[in-house]
Amino acid sequence: MNRVRLATVWLDGCSGCHMSLLDMDERLLDLADRVELVYSPLVDHKEYPEDVDLVLVEGSVSSEEDLHKIRKIRRQSKILISLGDCAVTGNVPAMRNPFKTAEVLRRVYVENVSVESPTPNQVVPALLARVRPVHEVVPVDVFVPGCPPSADTIFWTLTELLEGRRPDLTGKTRFGA
């Protein structure tokens, strides 16, 4: 039997959604029989593979790197799931949006430090002018709000998708849950 090719991605989020994913505990074993984890911060693949069936995206699109990644992810995945409030709404990362990027960097690297360090402009990806939820950048197939969505919600969403159904999350989770 061909197992479903599952990927999970961590953009601008706190990894709490991935923690919640791991909170599925022994149900992870049920899932392991049915999916192959082809890309994730939890495993060691470096390149996002071709032909991913399901991808869970945690985090908002905040940097040039996020933007590059999410476009590639969309191209190479069948079903894209926005997992958690950062991916769905922008959430906490988007709280910088009322301010200019330069103001944010000055606050972090100049005003709030005891020893002044240079604002990084090499190696680390440049911040976008505005943090955006995933669906403002690429089409999203399933939205799972929550901060983080509970393990039950994630498990239910995945099993619905594995059964070939489109999950209806009405009443199951909410913004900030």
């Binding site: 988007a94 709280m95 949006n97 939820p133 403002e136 939205f143 999350l169 009405t170 913004f175």
Partner: protein
């Protein structure tokens, strides 16, 4: 006293025959029959203003949608409170409310006790299709006990009405128009410097979101609003 026959109107709401007093609104009549219409700016015990547009209903014979909270019942009216079209507009209204200011549920004091959040969930809102505006809005923490965070305000004007109608202080009002509207204390002075505020806290209790909250509490407990219909009833001597 039994009302005169002419004071009673008979109408249909969602196909159910309803009789109501002539001065009742569609919302009153529907709720008496156990029919639910979503509301946000309405609060039992306060005057209605029809600000939030969530209680819009269809009335046969008019193409306009009308707010149930400020539309009086009429003889022979045929009202529909639930339809695909209404659900579409109610969802759109909620999405626009979420997109208009900075509603970050996960870090909001009202998370778990927020009328907007509950309405979003009840209407199956899993995301907001409109681009968020991210306006730069102030907080005023100058009052000894309370804070106003304009990021979370939905301009329902419950605070304005409870302060005016129930407390009689009229500290709160609305400034400017359209997207620039803001609730203000006195003549747009810091809340802590208000001459009229009695620090009664009624505005905090009626606020549907985390826009008004008490200092020193990281999480709101459920708000108490039961006093409102009771006060209104006692004052009217009903």
């Amino acid at each position: 006293m039994t009302p005169a026959v002419s004071d009673v109107k008979t109408l249909q709401i969602d196909g159910i025959d309803v009789s109501a007093q002539a001065d009742q609104t569609i919302l009153d009549a529907a709720r008496e029959k156990g029919l639910s219409i979503p509301t946000l700016c309405h609060l039992d015990g306060l005057g209605d203003v029809g600000a939030c547009r969530l209680c819009l209903v269809e009335i046969k014979g008019t193409s306009k949608l009308l707010p149930a909270c400020v539309t009086r019942v009429e003889e022979g009216m045929e009202v529909t409170t639930q339809s695909e079209r209404l659900l579409k507009y109610r969802r759109m209204t909620l999405e626009l409310l979420f997109a208009e200011r900075n509603h970050v549920c996960s870090v909001c004091v009202a998370n778990g006790h927020c009328d907007l959040q509950v309405l979003g969930q009840a209407h199956g809102l899993t995301h907001v299709q409109f681009p968020y505006r991210y306006p730069k809005l102030p907080m005023d923490a100058s009052h000894d006990r309370f804070v106003v965070d304009h990021n979370r305000c939905v301009l329902c004007t419950r605070c304005v009405r409870v302060c005016d109608e129930v407390e009689g202080a009229h500290t709160w009002d609305v400034m400017s128009r359209g997207i620039g509207s803001m609730v203000i204390t006195d003549l747009h002075q810091p809340w802590g410097e208000s001459d009229t505020c009695t620090s009664c806290g009624k505005c905090v209790q009626v606020c549907p979101t985390g826009a008004l909250f008490e200092k020193g509490k990281a999480r709101l407990v459920a708000k108490s609003r039961d006093f409102l219909p009771y006060l209104a009833m006692m004052r009217e001597g009903k």
